[in-house]
């Protein structure tokens, strides 16, 4: 045995890690006759039993449950993370990457729409390529398309308002994120009276 071998060993010279690796198997010929190995096996079994009992208590003991405030805080962050949806890589700098969440992009489009008088933004979806459904993949920056459903004031003329809306969305999204929208579909789904 090497002098600098720090591996924990049993009295019989056996590596403790080797015994632990075969703990689920029946005792081999050496272990059946070795008191050191038998003692270690018993101790490891006891350790496993205690660990299982502690894991069980973690699930059932009310005193070991996370405080309601902590649980609520975690769930609030988790729900927000789900709403943020996919991420788009905007830029790679010498320091690292810059990404934007789909929710942030969505709110930017709604903001752009809200700057056009007589336009109320409703649903907004962002996709990467025609016909490609939204999934968990990142959005392809070179092919960002969006579809915005709006309600319009009955006092505005639709064609010029749509032209202004498209121009405004494209300008604001580009100014904020450097994304050039490939396609901006607008669906007027309702008219409202002022």
């Amino acid at each position: 045995m090497a002098l600098n071998d720090d591996t924990p060993r049993l009295g019989c010279g056996r590596n403790l890690d080797d015994l632990w690796a075969s703990i689920d198997e029946p005792p081999n010929a050496h272990e059946q006759g070795c008191s050191d190995c038998q003692h270690a096996r018993t101790a490891l079994f006891n350790l496993a039993t205690v660990t299982e009992a502690m894991k069980e208590r973690d699930l059932t003991d009310p005193d070991l449950q996370p405080a309601g405030r902590i649980r609520e805080a975690i769930m609030m962050v988790a729900r927000a993370e789900i709403r943020r949806s996919r991420r788009t890589a905007l830029r790679e700098t010498p320091h690292g990457s810059i990404e934007i969440s789909e929710q942030a992009l969505n709110s930017l489009i709604r903001f752009a729409a809200s700057t056009v008088p007589g336009v109320h933004a409703r649903r907004c979806t962002i996709s990467t390529a025609e016909g490609k459904p939204a999934g968990t993949d990142t959005v392809d920056l070179s092919d960002v398309r969006m579809s915005l459903h709006v309600a319009l004031s009955s006092t505005v003329s639709i064609p010029p308002t749509m032209a202004v809306l498209r121009e405004r969305i494209g300008t604001i999204v580009h100014a904020q994120t450097a994304i050039t929208m490939q396609q901006i579909d607008v669906v007027v789904e309702d008219l409202y009276d002022l």
């Binding site: 927000a80 993370e81 320091h95 690292g96 810059i98 990404e99 934007i100 100014a175 450097a178």
Partner: protein, 145 residues
């Protein structure tokens, strides 16, 4: 006494407190124009809880405290690999400032703070999780220019 022997610079162990670096980063980034807040994520939150639990365990058992290699704050996740520090920053930005430029400024500021702490700058990744603001005339002017 003057010696002819070349003097070797003494080797001194250097301890960098990642918790202090995280606090500095958190405060500096929150003050940058255009950053509304650092946004907590599940990952940063769980790492923070993990660190708190480990500290509590070390205090209870009296076992030796080891320097943490991962430190988290709301919207910040620092992971050290030797002398190199990698950072993930999650932010909400103000619509009055171009989000992508705010993110680049955040990267540069973080790099300065890491260097000042005596660490090497690894990757600094920024995710813009939210863009907020109401459409006031001032917002609109700054966004469109």
């Amino acid at each position: 006494m003057i010696s002819d022997q070349p003097q070797e610079s003494p080797v001194e162990p250097r301890l960098v407190d990642l918790e202090a670096v995280a606090d500095n980063l958190s405060a500096a980034l929150a003050q940058l124009p255009g950053i509304l807040r650092l946004e907590p994520t599940v990952k940063s939150m769980m790492n923070r809880l993990r660190a708190l639990s480990l500290n509590s365990l070390h205090r209870t058992t009296g076992s030796g405290w080891q320097e943490p290699r991962v430190v988290a704050r709301d919207g910040l996740l620092l992971s050290a690999a030797g002398e190199i520090l990698n950072v993930q920053i999650d932010v909400a930005t103000d619509v009055a400032h171009p989000a992508v430029e705010v993110a680049e400024t955040a990267q540069k500021r973080a790099a300065e703070i890491i260097r000042k702490a005596g660490l090497q700058v690894g990757s600094i990744n920024v995710t813009i999780l939210a863009i907020e603001g109401s459409p006031t005339p001032a917002h609109l002017r700054s966004t469109l220019t």
